[in-house]
Symmetry: C2
Subunit: 228 residues, 2 copies
């Protein structure tokens, strides 16, 4: 047997890469540790040298995704030309752009995370993501409240409310995706558009913003994403 020794963190990253591919494609429960090591070209022993358990691998994956997500958002807070509403809109515009640009991967992600049998995967990632997103959103609201661009007494609580709304919309996107993949793209797009509209309205209302100031969606977005 050829034996290739690499630095530990290269190994861990490789294992997390494999985990991401396999967990997302087949689900966490349906992926065995043997699958992972076969894909990574390692042995059981090596795996348990780097990770204490299969769960630990999942946690590492979740943590890495959270880190990446934070790195993408962070620049927004540094931009001085934006006020609270501007930041929120930039956030939504970002996520919109990414959804269209990386539609295939994103679709795959949604399909993986919200598949009913993938609850464990979903939970761990949601947890990790919330952990970084909540402080971020809180900071946006706190500053917006300070400068008076939006109305969020108790910014952290309000931030959580916004994240809860977003999570619900993500679930709806999954449903639309399913419907679109079943062939019914047009009506799925119409449905998704209407939900996004309501989502935007809810966000505006929660922050007491005038109608039309928040743009979570734009004409044709749902179709662009679903048909991509």
């Amino acid at each position: 047997m050829t034996r290739i020794v690499k630095s530990p963190d290269i190994r861990t990253n490789e294992l997390i890469d494999c985990a991401q591919r396999l967990f997302f494609e087949h689900g966490y429960e349906n992926t065995t540790v043997n699958d992972v090591i076969r894909e990574a070209g390692l042995s059981k022993g090596a795996f348990y040298h780097y990770f204490a358990s299969k769960e630990a691998l999942l946690e590492a994956l979740a943590a890495r995704m959270a880190r990446q997500s934070l790195d993408e958002m962070r620049p927004l807070l540094e931009d001085p030309s934006l006020d609270g509403v501007g930041r929120l809109n930039a956030l939504f515009a970002n996520s919109r752009r990414m959804k269209v640009d990386m539609a295939p991967q994103l679709k795959n992600t949604y399909n993986a995370l919200f598949k009913p049998e993938n609850t464990v995967l979903y939970h761990r990632i949601d947890e990790a993501l919330t952990e970084v997103t909540l402080p971020f959103m809180t900071e946006i609201l706190r500053r917006g409240q300070e400068e008076g661009s939006l109305d969020a007494p108790d910014p952290e609580a309000m931030a959580l409310m916004l994240l809860n709304l977003r999570l619900g919309v993500a679930k709806v996107m999954y449903r639309a995706l399913q419907q679109a993949e079943a062939g019914d793209v047009e009506s799925a797009a119409a449905m998704l558009d209407s939900w996004m509209q309501s989502y935007g309205l809810a966000v505006e209302r929660v922050l007491k913003l005038p109608e039309g100031s928040i743009q979570v969606t734009e004409p044709g977005f749902a179709r662009a994403f679903l048909a991509a």
Copy 2:
């Protein structure tokens, strides 16, 4: 071996009872089918006679809980003396009363459902509960919109927004519960009170209701629940 034959649905209900006890106490994944049948005094063969799988048992449990929850809410819709806001307040008052009256069981439920290792249990029950709660809430909003007591264009979408908010608050209640059980009842109560306040505010805002028209909490509620 004594052999006690009962009517089938008595058996299924007994099995669901055991499942409820065991899943809630030890979690779904940590409860084995053998645990369930030992508790129920049945054999493997009997179990697989009534349920196709362990998952099927979980689904039956979730369905039963959803049915019970709907039965509790339904009277509300029949009461003609209430308008949209009145129904919402009645709903919140109901759940408040129940939380205090049945604090021990409710606490147990929260602890079980939101425990990190119980994601599967949580998801299935959330799914089943949403399935009955969403149409119910939609109907409340639809009527409220019709009679002008609240502002919910696209009642179903807005209903979902409200349920998403509620779910987030449930998670916060779990956190408060943990903190209270760790001994810090007072500060847990203070925290929970403040989150409930924000929750109420968010609900009001989403439905464009004047501040103070929705009462999701009341003075001393958090302490009453947590200290019970």
